[in-house]
């Protein structure tokens, strides 16, 4: 092997390197094109998911319009007295203002079953002995003024005087979860 053969071999190696470099460049381009395609698929999938989410949200909004309207109407009533102390003060004041013969009054914090948004309620146990119309008017007015109030039990019986009525009432005031 003489110097001419060596020169030829070197040139052949240079040619091979050029081919190799071109092939490497082509491979890099192809790999990048594949990545671009993958990114495009990912974008399409994400766009589809977004479209589905938006459709579900719109459907949920449409289905819950009445319920959300109901919540907006009633929530201020539930939020007006949202702690046990305020509820206790409120009912004590109302009983005093009514000037009824109040034999007993007791407050207790109780749990509410199957209602995660209203986990507790202030229970007020009241015993009155007074005139029937006065008692009924007070009770009716209380239910109108406090629309969230729940009368959980009431017992009416004869009072000690012939015109009197004995009323044992249990009221429940909901305490909304904060």
């Amino acid at each position: 092997m003489n110097s001419k053969h060596i020169a030829c071999a070197i040139v052949a190696v240079v040619i091979a390197l050029l081919v190799q470099f071109t092939l490497w460049f082509q491979n890099s381009r192809s790999a990048m094109q594949r990545q671009a395609e993958t990114a495009q698929f990912a974008e399409t999938a994400a766009a589809d998911q977004l479209a589905r989410e938006r459709v579900q949200l719109a459907e949920l909004r449409r289905q819950s319009t009445d319920l959300i309207g109901f919540l907006k109407t009633w929530q201020p009533y539930f939020q007006s007295i949202d702690n046990a102390q305020s509820a206790e003060v409120n009912y004590t004041m109302r009983v005093k203002e009514a000037n009824l013969v109040n034999l007993a009054q007791r407050f207790e914090l109780g749990t509410v079953k199957n209602n995660p948004s209203i986990p507790t309620a202030m229970r007020t146990y009241l015993t009155f002995e007074d005139d029937y119309p006065r008692l009924m008017n007070w009770l009716g007015e209380l239910e109108v003024k406090m629309p969230t109030l729940r009368i959980s039990s009431v017992r009416l019986s004869k009072g000690t005087r012939p015109t009197d009525l004995r009323a044992e009432i249990t009221l429940e005031h909901p305490l909304l979860k904060k």
């Binding site: 003489n2 110097s3 001419k4 053969h5 020169a7 030829c8 040139v11 240079v14 040619i15 050029l18 071109t22 460049f25 082509q26 890099s28 381009r29 990048m32 094109q33 671009a36 990114a39 990912a42 974008e43 994400a46 998911q49 977004l50 989410e53 938006r54 949200l57 949920l60 819950s64 009445d66 319920l67 959300i68 309207g69 109901f70 919540l71 109407t73 009633w74 009533y77 007006s80 509410v112 079953k113 199957n114 209602n115 948004s117 209203i118 009924m136 009770l139 009716g140 239910e143 109108v144 629309p147 969230t148 729940r150 009368i151 959980s152 039990s153 017992r155 009416l156 019986s157 004869k158």
Partner: protein, 197 residues
């Protein structure tokens, strides 16, 4: 076909050959080098442009995917918030449904008493598991069941239906027990009578 030695440079300087000449086929090697350089440059340029375009495209899709993901997350958060509101509304509705005023019912029962009858004892309790249902227990001072029919009519006028009634008449007293279920449930269109605080 023979290639003329003067037309193609075979990297030899003009000197007397001291080694034997290369075979004719190997004279193509320089030509192949020139061609490969040209092809490599052209293809390299094309591949480079395509590579740049692919990078730009990939980055564009990536940024767009990230934006969509942010938008999706926002939509999911809105949905979760709405679901929480719906749950709260359902709970409040359930409370309101079980809080129908019972004073009108008490008044109707009391007013139903005739001249020869009296209400000795009246007890109404809400069922803790189903607050919309009322457990009624009353003791009426009467000799006949006619008074009970009148009272039940007045209860029905308040949109209550009676279930599981039990009655016992004896010694001028009538014991009556029943479960009352309202026909008119409070629905989302119900608005409180008093203005919002």
């Amino acid at each position: 076909m023979q290639i003329a030695s003067k037309q193609i440079d075979d990297f030899k300087t003009e000197r007397k050959d001291i080694t034997p000449p290369l075979p004719v086929i190997l004279r193509l090697v320089p030509l192949l080098l020139y061609c490969s350089i040209i092809v490599a440059v052209v293809l390299g340029a094309v591949f480079f442009l395509q590579l740049q375009l692919a990078i730009k495209k990939r980055e564009g899709h990536r940024i767009e995917t990230e934006n969509i993901a942010i938008e999706t997350q926002k939509t999911q958060s809105e949905r979760a918030a709405l679901e929480a509101e719906i749950k709260k509304a359902t709970d409040i509705e359930s409370w309101v449904a079980g809080s129908r005023p019972i004073q009108p019912l008490l008044v109707e029962i009391a007013r139903s008493m005739g001249a020869r009858s009296s209400l000795i004892d009246l007890r109404i309790e809400r069922d803790p598991d189903a607050p919309a249902q009322l457990k009624l227990a009353m003791k009426i001072g009467t000799d006949t069941t006619k008074q009970l029919d009148t009272t039940l009519d007045r209860i029905a006028s308040q949109d209550y239906r009676t279930f599981s009634p039990q009655q016992n008449l004896g010694r001028g007293e009538l014991d009556y027990r029943a479960t009352l279920v309202s026909r008119q449930q409070r629905t989302p269109d119900v608005v409180p009578e008093t203005p919002a605080p």
